[in-house]
Point group: C2
């Protein structure tokens, strides 16, 4: 997996996890984000390379700073590398 | 100015500031980012709504975590609101 796909994948996985932690369904979350449910689904599956604007909407819907999501993503990203790659 | 333009504007201003702090010209910075100089210029002027992927390339070129750029941007964003808006 190249770095770009990895980034989208980890961002999506982080968002899915954080959404679950606050007990929101994908549909409820989509409404809060002002985004379509299928779009949220594709973000969570790591299929979208989101813009800062979209990432910011997501952060707002989760009621936290975007920097905290990115920070958590970076931690996951490091671990992800260890578990799935040989480098 | 709406929130989207504001975000791009503050991101660009933050990047320009951080690039200057490490003493890189726009051209040197563009090479490090693997992006075109004119594209960096438009990002710094707040004309682009960058993707997380591009933001990540920029962070790598500055040799810091993206979360730190975003965190700094969020601080600037708050101040910016105070200086330029009435709300």
């Amino acid at each position: 997996m190249d770095n770009i796909k990895k980034l989208a994948h980890i961002f999506g996985a982080t968002i899915r996890q954080m959404r679950s932690e606050v007990g929101l369904s994908q549909e409820e979350f989509a409404i809060r984000c002002h985004l379509h449910r299928t779009y949220i689904g594709s973000i969570e599956r790591g299929e979208k390379n989101v813009t800062l604007e979209t990432a910011s909407k997501i952060a707002k819907a989760l009621d936290i700073n975007l920097s905290l999501i990115i920070s958590r993503m970076e931690t996951e990203y490091e671990n992800y590398g260890d578990e799935n790659d040989n480098h």
